[in-house]
Amino acid sequence: MNTMAETRTYDLRLYVAGQTEKSLAALVNLKRICETHLAGQYRIEVIDLTKTPQLAAGDQIFALPTLVRRLPEPIKKIIGDLSNEERVLVGLDVQAVKR
């Protein structure tokens, strides 16, 4: 699992609506979790739907914030501020790295 091909396999999109408390919390939580467990293997794109509302339908977004794992397939969605690390890892289907 540590070959070069595995690098940046996690294509993640975080949908938020403006700079709300929940949005900011979700982004902070996401970055922390990725750095901890997916260091060097992820890419995060933050989409603010208040600026680009037309993008909401494409990924079937209705709740915010929503984290979408676009790759690897299948698509997974985690809604909420990502405050529960364990559930985020389950949702992303990622093995926790033991520190």
Binding site: A25, A56, Q60, A63, I79, L82
Partner: protein, 581 residues
């Protein structure tokens, strides 16, 4: 007309017409403008269809763009489903009159962690609304969210916010919801949040026949019909019967229509029935109800009026053939497009469905005359309490449209002791004119009698007529009233022959008497002539005698004078005279 309908409406409460036949009448103009309306019912009861029509008709008829947000079907499925009703969603979407958005919630893809809200839904909805300048919104059905999201506390709070948000944006909205268990209006209690207007739909099956019903449960700030109204999803979409049940204010035209049977018109005050009135023709099997119906239709077509004939016993081909046998040829009218015959089995659907279908066809064809043959088949297996209001609605509707209607009805009572008219008491009160046909069995044959049981607003005949069907058509004949019963059929013919013979005899007798009189008169005249002749002869005799005598006298005088002269002109002529003697 619409203004009188909802006097209880405050001027502030505006309504947005749904364009759905019947629903706007029940609600007094439509759904509350700028507010959400909850439409709930069990699966397959027509919620989506109602909501869709609200959006499509809003766009097409009211010029109000609408957003249809669906949680169950996707765009392609919905477009295909409504295409059969003649709604071209693709075109409306291209014209930016309608925006469709399918919110797909896949429970297995979703993990929940921490705080969230449904802002994404608001953004999507807001985006769609802004894109087309929507005035109407449908959420069908928002309850899918409950299945997709485990945290119902958040969901409820967000739904409350959503409905308030819709109100603030001035959206006239329909939110659909599943009917709940027991008495609950909706499974998740949506009625708590959407309290302005609640409409329930219902789909029931009784006696293996399904009936859809609609009810306006609540309409804040407005009067509304509170009954259950049957509705149908037909070829022209959603229709709710009845249109006019809230009122009894149809116009009463004074014009009269011929029934097509001259003698029957005569019985009806000499002019036939009132235009826009309803006529019931009831009778036992084979009394000629259908024939009267067909003649009525024929007469209307002859006047150039459109006629709609609903047949629930015979196919249209069979009707054309059978009616030709009694001299009524309907085929040319069908070809001309003046007459439409709709034949179907009464068991095809419930009474309400039939009536809604009839309603739709009447709306489409706009006839002046409607004939239903027979109405009793529609009411089979149904209690009168159920049938009456529905029929009343149909009749009211026809009257409202000033359509003259004729219903035939099969009576169940026999020709025996129970009066056949008893079985019609309920329906007949809805009718303006009631003709009763009855079989009389006498003298080894059955004959038909026709009575005018009632005819509102005219001095109709109280006489019984015999109703005769022949290849020359329909005719009514005076019956002979015998000592204890009326005479019909051959008895009537025999009686007529008898009377004819008697009249002939009498006529001959009179002639003979006249001849005798003439002869006698001639004899007397001859006698008078003879007497006259005799008198004349006598008179001539008398004159002759007189003439003779006067001649003698003259001669004597002359002789005397001559003698005197001969004797010398002396006056003493006595001697000579004496001597001559």
């Amino acid at each position: 007309m619409k203004k009188n309908m909802h006097p209880a409406v405050t001027p502030a409460l505006r309504k947005s017409p749904t364009g759905i036949i019947g629903l706007d009448e029940i609600t007094g103009g439509g759904l509350p403008t700028g507010r959400p309306t909850l439409v709930c019912g069990s699966a397959g009861c027509g919620k989506t269809m109602l909501a869709m029509e609200f959006i499509v008709r809003g766009a097409v008829e009211s010029g109000e763009p609408g957003v249809f947000m669906m949680f169950e079907e996707n765009e392609a499925e919905l477009t295909a489903n409504v295409r059969s009703l003649g709604f071209d969603l693709d075109r409306l979407v291209k014209q930016k009159m309608i925006a469709l958005d399918h919110v797909h919630i896949e429970r297995s893809e979703i993990e929940e962690t921490g705080e969230y809200d449904l802002e994404g839904l608001f953004i999507r909805l807001g985006y769609a609304i802004d894109a087309i300048g929507a005035k109407r919104v449908v959420l069908d059905t928002v309850e899918a969210l409950f299945a997709g999201l485990p945290n119902h506390a958040i969901l409820r709070a967000e739904l409350r916010r959503l409905f308030r948000w819709l109100k603030n944006r001035g959206m006239t909205a329909i939110i659909t919801g599943e009917r709940g268990e027991g008495n609950a209006i909706t499974r998740y209690g949506l009625e708590e949040y959407v309290a302005d207007c609640v409409i329930t739909l219902d789909h029931r099956v009784t006696e293996q026949i399904s009936t859809r019903r609609l009810r306006v449960l609540k309409y804040r700030g407005s009067a509304h019909g509170t009954n259950e109204y049957p509705f149908l999803i037909g070829e022209r979409g959603f229709s709710v019967l009845p249109i006019t049940s809230l009122r009894l204010d149809h116009a009463a035209p004074a014009g009269r229509l011929s029934t097509g049977i001259a003698r029957l018109d005569e019985m009806l005050d000499g002019q036939g029935v009132f235009g826009g009135s309803s006529v019931l023709v009831s009778g036992a099997p084979g009394t000629g109800k259908s024939s009267i119906g067909a003649k009525f239709a024929d007469a209307a077509c002859r006047r150039g009026e459109r006629t709609l004939l609903f047949a629930y016993e015979e196919s249209s081909a069979q009707i054309l053939r059978n009616m030709r046998s009694i001299g009524i040829d309907l085929a040319p009218w069908v070809k001309k497009g003046l007459l439409q015959i709709h034949a179907s089995r009464p068991a095809l659907s419930g009474l309400e469905q039939h009536l809604v279908a009839m309603h739709d066809m009447v709306q489409a064809f706009r006839p002046a005359v409607v004939v239903v043959d027979p109405i009793s088949n529609l009411t089979l297996e149904r209690s009168e309490a159920e049938v009456m209001p529905t029929l009343m609605r149909l009749i009211d509707f026809l009257k409202q449209q000033q359509i003259t209607s004729l219903f035939t009805s099969l009576t169940t009572g026999g020709t025996g002791t129970s009066a056949p008219e008893d079985s019609e008491v309920g329906v007949s009160s809805l009718m303006d004119t009631w003709l009763l046909l009855r079989n009389v069995e006498f003298n080894g044959e059955r004959n038909r009698l026709i009575y005018v049981m009632k005819s509102r607003g005219m001095a109709h005949s109280n006489q019984v007529r015999e109703f005769v069907l022949s290849d020359a058509g329909i005719d009514l004949v005076d019956v002979y009233l015998g000592a204890d019963r009326v005479l019909t059929g051959t008895a009537r013919v025999a009686q007529a022959a008898h009377e004819r013979a008697a009249a002939e005899l009498r006529r001959e007798d009179h002639e003979r008497k006249l001849r005798l009189l003439a002869a006698k008169r001639k004899a007397i005249e001859a006698q008078i002539a003879a007497l006259n002749a005799e008198g004349e002869a006598e008179a001539a005799e008398v004159q002759f005698a007189i003439a003779q005598e006067s001649l003698q006298e003259t001669t004597t005088q002359q002789d005397s004078a001559a003698m005197a002269q001969l004797r010398g002109g002396s006056k003493a002529g006595n001697g000579r005279t004496k001597g001559k003697r």
